[in-house]
Structure formats: C-alpha cells, structure tokens
Symmetry: C2
C-alpha cells in the first residue's frame, strides 16, 4: 500500500499539516523542519494522492477535451496542441469524442463533468436535434468552457479561424484563375465549420455576380470515401460539370481527386481542387493539394491557455467572453490551375 501523508508525518515526527505546508511550498515552516520533511519524502519516494487533493481543494487540475473524431489527422493536431498547453500549465487532459453523434457528445460531456474536470474544450456538433440547454446551464454557473467553433445564441469563449472569410478567399482565388463554375462538396450537416464555409462560398459567388447553383452544392461528408463517391456522381453528368471544387476538408478533396483521376479527368488541367485543413498528407499526395491551412496545433494550444486562464483567474473575465481568431492561409500547391 502506498504511503500517505500521515505516514510521512509520523516518520518525520511532525503533523500532517506541516507535511502539507512543506509540500505546497507555503511559508511558516522553519528551514530545519522543511529539510527534515523533504528528506523523508525523498527517502520514501512519497507522492501525494492527487485524488485526495482534488477532493479537498475541489480542483482536479484536469480538463476535458471533446472532439468529433479521434481518427482524424486534423483533430490529432488539436489534441497535441491542447495536450502541450495543458502540460505546460500542470494540467492533464481527459479525452472524449462524439464521433459525430450528438447523443455520444452529450454522454462524453456528462461523463467528463462527473469526473470533475475543471473546465472543458469542446468541438461541438450542431443541428436541429442538438440541445444546448445543458451547456447553457454550465455557462450560467460560470463553468469554464472554450468552444472550437461558434455556437449560435450562446455566449462562450471561442478559438477558431474565420471560416467564412477563409472559404470566401479560396473561392475568390478560383474565380481569379478564371473559374466560373465552382462547386462545394459539403461536410456533415452537424458541422458549424461546414455551414460557415458554405456561407463564404456563397458570398464569394454573389460578390462576383455568379449564380449559386444548388446542383453544385453537394453533400459529401468528412472522409475520403465521401469525396470519392460524391465526385463520381457529380462528374458522371457530362454536359454541365464544374471546373473547380472547394471541398469541406482535405480528405474529401483527396477522395475527389482520386475519383477524377479514375475517370480520366486530369487535375488540375480540367478541374481545380481546394481542400481545408492542410493535413500532413496534402504535400505527399499524388497531386500536392492546394488547401486552406488551419493552424490546428495553435488552436488547441490557444484553447488550453485560454481555458486555464479562465479557471485560474475566474474574476479576470467578468462575464466577458474572448473570441480568439487565428489566421488561416491558402497554401498554393498543384491542384489548381487557370482555366484554359
């Protein structure tokens, strides 16, 4: 059985309170006693129980991170950012994932809450069936929360890029290359990023007096297969086909590119493709992918910093919510070309 603070107190011939004071580097202990206690602690390799400390301080020094998909290189970078941000500040991460299913999201959040995390970073799903009242209750209780995308009608900290602008810029870039028939392969309906990117896409077309064709807004998803299948369907129709496609993310873009190549439609000669995220693999793909770089690691780190700041100085944000917008950058590689 592990040693407790009482054991150390007995061994050092002092009280539990003294041991506690020494270990927390608080004043009021003579150098002699401090040394004596530390020697015993050292000798027996004593490590205080984090659980007991959490109970009495009512702080677990643990934060919850709820993402949408574990097996997704984009979220891997988010996780690493959050992880590093927490480790630097003496916090630990409890991981949760909704795997794109609203009930699972809620389950994850409640579970983390039960575990007593001091705050949470959430990449929330959105949609008709989603009920934010339980999150709203948290906010009312001043529970520290940072979201990784905007949430409608809900005041909270947010760390994200400007998705509307990013999509807008990407589409303008395509228009600048001469494209007029530009499609958008959407992500899952539950994704806020997706709806914002769609908005940016539409705004860019409108700004250039180009028509918004429903046929060119195609529901895909977030995986390679989605891009592949949607691409096949979209380009099987011969007479009216886009010359450029903005994709919800890189995986969809890769799937699309593979579909086009399989159909003998050269990329970028006949179709230009832009993705989102800039996952590592973009550069190594058969056609190095032009994509909107999202600083996922930095987002994760900024979210952790903001959250921990909020936890450690609750008074510092008297009802004000921060919105941290990080820069996204279009990475021009080889999947886009001027139109012939």
């Amino acid at each position: 059985m592990r040693l407790t603070i009482a054991d150390i107190a007995r061994l050092a011939d002092v009280s539990k309170a003294t041991v506690s004071t020494v270990l927390n580097d608080k004043p009021g202990i003579s150098p002699k006693t401090r040394k004596k206690v530390l020697a015993i602690v050292q000798k027996y390799g004593y490590r205080p129980s984090h659980v007991a400390r959490s109970l009495s301080t009512r702080r677990t020094h643990t934060i919850g991170l709820v993402i949408k998909e574990i097996v997704n290189p984009y979220y891997a970078r988010i996780i690493k950012g959050v992880f590093d941000g927490c480790t630097d500040n003496g916090y630990t991460v409890l991981l949760g994932s909704s795997e794109l299913a609203p009930p699972k999201e809620r389950q994850s959040i409640e579970k983390l809450l039960n575990y007593g995390v001091d705050g949470m970073i959430i990449s929330p799903l959105q949609g008709e069936e989603i009920d934010f009242t339980y999150l709203a209750r948290l906010t009312q209780e001043q529970y520290p929360l940072v979201m990784l995308n905007n949430v409608q009608n809900y005041a909270t900290h947010v760390v994200d890029i400007d998705n509307v602008k990013a999509a807008f810029d990407a589409v303008c870039y395509l228009i600048g290359l001469g494209h007029r028939k530009i499609a958008y392969l959407t992500g899952p309906a539950s994704s806020v990023h997706n709806s914002e990117r769609l908005t940016g896409y539409q705004q860019a077309l409108m700004n250039h007096n180009l028509p918004i064709t429903q046929k060119f807004i195609v529901t895909a998803g977030s995986y390679i297969e989605n891009g592949f299948r949607t691409g096949k369907a979209l380009f099987s129709d011969d007479d009216d086909v886009p010359t450029a496609v903005l994709c919800y993310n890189d995986l969809v873009a890769i799937g699309l590119a593979n579909a086009l190549i399989e159909m003998n439609i050269p990329v970028p000669e006949r179709v230009s493709i832009i993705g989102f995220d800039d996952i590592d693999f973009c550069r190594s793909f058969r056609i190095p992918l032009t994509t909107v770089h999202i600083p996922a690691y930095e987002i994760g780190k900024a979210a952790a910093d903001l959250l921990i700041r909020t936890i450690d100085q609750p008074a510092a944000n008297p009802n004000g919510y921060e919105k941290v917008v990080l820069p996204a950058l279009l990475m021009e590689r080889n999947s886009c070309a001027t139109i012939a």
Copy 2:
C-alpha cells in the same frame, strides 16, 4: 455549488448511507425508500462526485495510455481502440505521450500514477538510456500494466503483432518477386518494433542465402521527411542500388516513394516498396502502397480489455502474464513488382 449526497439524504429524509446504497444498486433497501430516493435524485439531477468516490473506493476507473506520438495516424487508431474498449467498460482514458523522448515518457508515467490511474497501457521506448527499474517496481507491486511491444527481461502483459514474422514474410514476398538487393529503412533506435522488424528482415535474407549488406540497412526515422531524405541519399549512389525496400512504416515508405519519383526512378518498375501499419492514406497515395496491415484499433481494444480484466479480477492472473499476438497481413497493392 453542486449538490452532495448529504443534500440528497436531507431532501429524501434518509441517511447518506441509504442514498449511497440505493445509488449503487445494493440490496437492503425497501422498494418504497428506493423509489423515494431515486425520485429526489432525478428531480435535482444529482450526480455523485467521482473524485470523492475514487478516494473512498481507492479506484478511479481511469486508465493511463502512454503512446509515442500523438500526431501519428497509427497511434490515432490505437487511441481509438483503447478509448472504445474503456468506454464500453465504464473506464476513462488519461492520455500521455513520450513524443519519442525517454525523460518525457517517464514524466508522463509518473504523472499518470499520481493521478491515480488504476492501470496503464504503455507503448514503451527502449534503448541504452532507458531505465526500467521504475516500471519493474510497479510490476512487483502487482500494478496492472499492458505493454504495446515486447520489453526485454521484463515480465508483463503484451498485446502486439509478431513483428519478426511480419517483416520476415514481407521480405520473403519480395524475394519471391525476384528481388535480391533489398534494403531496410529503419525507424528510430528507441523503437522495439523497429529492431524486431530488422531481425525479421535479416532472418529472411539469411534463410534465402542472401548477403546482409550494412549499406542496405539505413537509419531513417518515423516521418515522411525521414523517408524522403534517406531515400535520396540511398539512391544517389548509381552503381549499387537496391531493387526493393522494406520501410519501418508507411510514412517513411511514402517519403521514399516521393523521393524516387522526384529522381525519375519509377515505382514499382525499378524499385519495389513495402511499408508497415497500413494507415488510411496508403490506398490514396499516388501509388497505392503495398504494406503490412497492423490491426491498431484491435490492438488498442484488446489492450484495454486485458488491462481492465486484470484490474477487475486481480486474482485471475496469479503471476501469469498474457501475451496477445494479433495477426498482421500483407496488403498487396501497387508498390511492388517482379524484377525485370
């Protein structure tokens, strides 16, 4: 402030003990009382503090997972497997990562230990500078541990594939295609998987009376860039160049393929390539990659199951350690060809 069990007891006009008994579904409570308590619990949305429960039961229902790299699609699948295996059994995962640095590994492990995880799944680093005495101490204390690779001179549960055999089979496959000059691009020295794969590679060559050339065993690493740079170096020498290369993992293989293509050396026509892991992108790479499929998700899940079994029934394994070996499978795709 959140409600405590004392609040509920007061509201239901019973004792704390009764509330606790009801909530843990233990016998000895009249149906009437049970109903009354549950009604109050329901009404106020009471959720017991996990921390307090952990302190008194001395079980946190949390396990630690220490991997080598967060941003690595292979480990993402491991994480998901562990995650699912834990969630199914009412456990939660605390994540740690060594990021390939021994001191960080140790830090992570000690941190998780302090947090009171009930057991740990570790993908341990190995090498001269690594000191396993602290892990050995844990094992002596019957601390539940599952390793994701073999550890020398150290009795513990292990869940893994047979790396020696997998590499052996892969090289035999290349030899079967007519290759005689086969190189191996190694992973990091700290990787046990790497040394086992190297062994399998050497055994296969020996079995076929082929020479083991030091020049053809090249230190690469675990990232795309490593494969790229090592590939460039290996193939810049014109007169004695391999016709096939086994790579430590898929990322290295992708880097190598990119390097060869850039050098106008066609794959697989002039050089065959085999990777390890079968990450998602293998299929979407410019040359669909032949690779050894490692069931990472299943490994994670099996490790979680084994660990939780060990935690929940400490007596069940009276000093016996399980070694779970899952099947690896060579996925024949387009990066290998018979020699001209």
